[in-house]
């Protein structure tokens, strides 16, 4: 038979996460690709209907493992919108700091992570060790490394600990110092260029067809389509930052945009530390007496934030009871992870498949839920 069926995942070193792509390969060209999600399916949308509004806080970060804070943020934003609660000023700034630290962490992992499929393991080792320092910051702030459950409806769970700002500054300084080294090692390496430059294209037409957002969209269209700019949440309208864009979206460009976004995140965090109110409450209570079993007024709302992979949104329906009536999750990598693979992984080589998955930003848990 002319075609060989090969599997990229679920248990394959080239696949990050529990996800599978069935590839029909002729020689080394992928003739047909079929995504097979569902290995991480836990039925979140059903489980959330069965938990209290408060109890869901433990559940939601687990939808996206690598970048959990955005879940907490959209969830909190949705409930606050439905309940009409105003969040204290200081909480907004703390949320921004957490979100941007999270963005730094995942971008650091992505930049180091490109070492996996291209074979540059030193980059991976360095990059992930660097990310660990950010996780240490999270641990100091929230008490947990990965799932923080820190951003809660009405604010943040608790105030920042003493002296954390100095620690953050220290980590950021070190990161800023090391970033050019990583750039030299990874983004300017001639062999990496040979592999990812002019390869794994994302043309502008495809962006609209699939509904790809985030870096994918910005690198292809050249527009500053960043939810932080277009419809600012928290206090993103009060900080200055640029949205890096490009009009030629190959894998290298997307990596470079990630690299530039890291600089912007550092810039945002520095501004946050400068501009945030030094004192004040960080959390508003919902209804007195039943902090755990609070209710949310009837209604439905869609909230979205800018994750590292694009628009990440929750559609929340409340029937006024203690539990949500329905929550639907828009995973940011849903378009490229399913239809994108089916239509646009074909024509690439098996050498490129895992780089494709990497740089397109396919995150399996948020697809499967």
């Amino acid at each position: 038979m002319k075609e060989v069926k090969l599997f990229l995942g679920p248990q394959h070193p080239g696949m990050h996460g529990n996800y599978s792509v069935h590839m029909y390969v002729d020689g080394d060209m992928i003739k047909k690709a079929r995504p097979t999600p569902g290995f991480l399916h836990r039925g979140f949308e059903k489980l959330m209907e069965r938990r209290l509004w408060m109890g869901n806080l433990a559940l939601i970060p687990r939808i996206c493992v690598v970048e959990p804070d955005i879940n907490e943020m959209v969830y909190a934003m949705g409930i606050e919108a439905l309940a009409g609660v105003e969040v204290p000023e200081r909480a907004h700034w703390i949320r921004m700091m957490i979100l941007e630290l999270g963005r730094l962490a995942i971008h650091m992992m992505a930049i180091g992570g490109i070492g996996g499929p291209t074979g540059m393991y030193t980059a991976t080792y360095w990059g992930i060790a660097q990310r660990d320092l950010i996780l240490d910051l999270f641990e100091k702030i929230t008490g947990a490394r990965i799932y923080h459950m820190y951003i809660v409806p009405g604010g943040v769970r608790k105030d920042l600990p003493e002296g954390i700002l100095e620690d953050v500054t220290k980590v950021l300084d070190q990161l800023e110092k090391n970033l050019p080294e990583y750039e030299e090692l990874i983004l300017r390496h001639p062999i990496i260029h040979a592999r990812i430059k002019d390869n794994i294209m994302l043309p502008e037409s495809v962006v609209w067809e699939l509904g790809v957002t985030g870096i994918g969209m910005r690198s292809a269209t050249g527009t500053e389509n960043d939810l932080r700019k277009v419809k600012p949440y928290a206090r993103y309208d009060q900080v200055e930052f640029d949205v890096p864009t490009a009009t030629y979206s190959d894998a290298l460009t997307r990596m470079q945009l990630k690299y530039q976004e890291m600089h912007q995140s550092i810039r945002i965090i520095r501004q946050v530390m400068e501009k945030m109110p030094k004192e004040g409450p960080v959390r508003t209570n919902f209804s007195a007496g039943s902090a755990l079993r609070f209710t949310v007024p009837e209604g439905m709302v869609y909230t979205a934030v800018e994750s590292s992979r694009g628009e990440y949104g929750y559609f929340i329906v409340s029937d006024g009871k203690e539990q949500p009536y329905r929550i639907a999750v828009r995973g940011a990598s849903y378009p490229q992870g399913l239809l994108g693979i089916e239509k646009y992984l074909t024509g690439y080589r098996i050498d490129d498949a895992s780089i494709w998955m990497d740089t397109m930003g396919v995150c399996s848990p948020e697809i499967d839920r």
Binding site: M77, A81, L210, G211, G313, F315, Y325, Y334, L339
Partner: protein, 173 residues
């Protein structure tokens, strides 16, 4: 809400002939349409700048005997999210695919069929299983499906023997 925005909304209302409802969040509106009118509404909205379909989802209003489909569109020029809602009959949920307007919807439709049992005419692949494998019960996101019961019947739980060691305190005089 700026003046230009309200003008824009008015134009929409006039062209579509439906009411654009406000929502709790800013820059977000609802449109309720009959399920026969959904396609022309979507086509129009895509034409006026709602090029991105963020989410296609479904709600099971079991008490009313209805499914509600929600199509969330986004306009990147002004950052407006438009939620187009329509009701379907719960007994015989059938809808025509919107993949010719938003090609990205193909997998959302498959997912909704899998989780709710809504049929999509015109989508050749919607009946294939996507997330679940060898599923043998009703679509799981319907309100009358009880995951706890399913889990108990299929996946045995660990039995925690609640044995507490009691410390015998000898009272000595």
């Amino acid at each position: 809400m700026t003046n230009s925005m309200s003008n824009w909304i008015e134009t929409l209302e006039k062209d579509l002939g439906v009411e654009v409802l406000d929502s709790p969040a800013k820059l977000q509106y609802f449109i309720d349409v009959e399920h026969t009118n959904v396609h022309q509404t979507l086509a129009y909205l895509r034409h006026v700048g709602f090029t991105q379909m963020s989410l296609l989802s479904c709600i099971d209003w079991i008490e009313q005997g209805k499914f509600q489909l929600i199509c969330i569109l986004m306009n990147w020029e002004n950052g407006v999210h438009m939620l187009v809602r329509t009701m379907l009959d719960r007994e015989n949920p059938e809808f025509t695919t919107i993949t010719d307007i938003y090609p990205g919807a193909v997998y959302y439709e498959r997912e909704i069929h899998e989780f709710f049992g809504v049929h999509f005419r015109g989508n050749p692949t919607y009946q294939k299983p996507l997330f679940l494998e060898r599923w043998d019960d009703m679509p799981p996101l319907r309100k009358d499906f009880d995951p706890q019961a399913y889990s108990d019947s299929k996946f045995p739980r660990r039995e925690h023997p609640h044995v507490f060691k009691t410390k015998v305190v000898e009272v000595t005089e």
